[in-house]
Subunit: 338 residues, 2 copies
């Protein structure tokens, strides 16, 4: 596979390089793209130095798959150039997620949706991915009627600069120095705040709205009711979520839930009630699996259950899901090799 | 009023001194009690040095009100001594909260419950107080059927030592040093975890169970259904909560909700959607009011709404509520002055 990465110097771009290597992805050529200020620098992939380029008019010619992680505007601006070059775009941005001709894919859940692709495939929002990895295994127990989710989101979702900001602000706070937010809109050190995506006319911020609507698309279920509260917390790179799931009919037992989660690919059960040991971002960091636990029957609704999940935002929440999409395209014979 | 404070050197004890002073509480005598290792030290109150004592057999003789904040075991061990001395115990621990002869009071909500007191009054759990300050103003719109709440709890709830631990661990993490949790069970720096109270046979941790059952008692509503997920986050002293409230009947408009919150004593509306400015622990710290905002109609249930709240755990979550109980006892003529 001849692979391109657009946004190669970003937090997700760097993770893509590691994931492609770790998973022994069949890379025969690798081209890395970033903005002008990074052009000419190098990244190392499997021992080779790869020079970082800016995008030119023929950048995607001869490439099979291009991973995009440079923001919605870049993805929109380059879509037709990529598709016209016969290259498949796997896009981490929110640019095309809700487009009816763009599959929105978590391979464990809806890999079959790739079959109708038209050259562009979208990686869902990181919070949606982690939510659905915890919820999808439960669909075997019957229709899910409603989800109430509250997130505890790491700063990595706002990029490498936001990760540095958490570090810098925390040091400043502990030194008693003044804190001046630059990347994130509010102080993040020892604080938390509603996700920094604009609030829409329904009162939801953009991140919450994505969780509501991407869930319906990925699960092919317009009737599934979702409400979300998305909060940024002072954690570097793993998101956590408190998830309440209401079934249309009878709820499964706690043991049935644990077994269903344990059997599901990409999910690891962390649920030691005796030790009060449940999913934590510290443990999810660097792991491919989404950790799920604190499973219990909801005391407030006899059809509902409560769960807690943590997953690495840069891995399953972004880079890993993107590479798994590429792997699934190969497996299903859906990518044309030049 | 002749006042005693048991646990005077703790995080809540120190805050009690500040709150009594700030609110010009009528203190004519002040006695401070702590463990043997603090005895002989001093605290300053209104310019006077007060010597810290250990509890003796006659410690509560002549006192009108004793604030307890030294853990459940201490409250249980001293209850009869306090009551026999004719002193009222206002207890911040969970020792007696669910006892039928002990009022559990948030004065803005159920001050009238003080009328039946038998010498012991309990301050609710901090998370319950902050939840109900956001929810109680909405009861004028009809019966509340169900609450789904997820907390983002500061370390102050685990005491002054846990606050120091967050500081020490954060410095260690940033210096690349090993982290050894001593007070809290898991790493708290740049991490979060299920609240460190034992998990019961229903799968809920103790903190979650308190929120469920204290809510029913304070609101005098055994039918109100509550589920909670309680999470400790790396924040020093203000708790935040994502709250979903389902009404039995029609839900109020967002404006009606904002107005009801704004009118309620002890609540401040922070709800600037255009600026994405909602309650944050940074802003709630040091404030008496509980901040409530991010008010919206729940997209998943036409009877439900979503809110986000932040409140100072040491103030309204503990010391302030305790002092307000004392003020309400005076106002209602329910305390005998020696």
């Amino acid at each position: 596979m001849r692979i391109g990465i657009v946004g190669a110097t970003g937090a997700v771009g760097q993770e893509l390089l590691r994931v492609l290597d770790d998973r022994k992805f069949p890379v025969t050529e690798l081209r890395l793209f970033a903005s002008a200020k990074s052009a000419g620098k190098h990244s190392t992939f499997r021992g080779d130095q790869v020079t970082i380029e800016t995008i030119g008019p023929h950048s995607f010619n001869g490439l099979d798959i291009a991973f995009f992680s440079a923001g919605s505007e870049t993805s929109k601006a380059l879509r037709s150039q990529v598709v016209d070059a016969g290259c498949i775009m796997i896009d981490n941005s929110s640019a095309f997620r809700m487009d009816s001709d763009v599959p929105l894919v978590i391979p464990e859940i809806n890999a079959a949706d790739l079959q109708g692709h038209h050259g562009v495939i979208a990686v869902p929002n990181c919070s949606t991915i982690i939510l659905l990895m915890a919820v999808a295994p439960l669909r075997k127990f019957g229709t899910i009627k409603r989800i109430v989710v509250s997130t505890y989101q790491a700063v990595s979702g706002a990029g490498a600069k936001a990760m540095r900001e958490l570090d810098v602000q925390s040091r400043a706070y502990l030194a008693g120095e003044e804190i001046r937010p630059e990347i994130l809109p509010h102080q993040i050190a020892f604080n938390l705040f509603s996700h920094n995506a604009a609030v829409n006319e329904h009162g939801y911020n953009g991140e919450e709205w994505k969780m509501i609507h991407e869930t319906k698309k990925i699960l092919h279920d317009d009737a599934i009711a979702v409400t979300a509260t998305c909060i940024r917390v002072p954690v570097f790179r793993a998101h956590s979520e408190a998830i309440n799931v209401e079934f249309e009919g009878e709820r499964p037992s706690v043991d049935q839930i644990r077994n269903a989660l344990a059997e599901y690919p990409g999910v690891q059960v962390v649920d030691d009630a005796a030790k009060n040991y449940f999913p934590m971002p510290k443990d999810a960091t660097g792991k491919n699996d989404v950790l799920v636990g604190h499973v219990r029957h909801d005391a407030s609704n006899m059809h509902a259950i409560d769960l807690f999940a943590s997953g690495d935002q840069l891995l399953k929440g972004a880079a890993l899901d993107a590479v798994q999409i590429a792997e699934s395209l190969i497996e299903q014979g859906l990518v044309k090799v030049h």
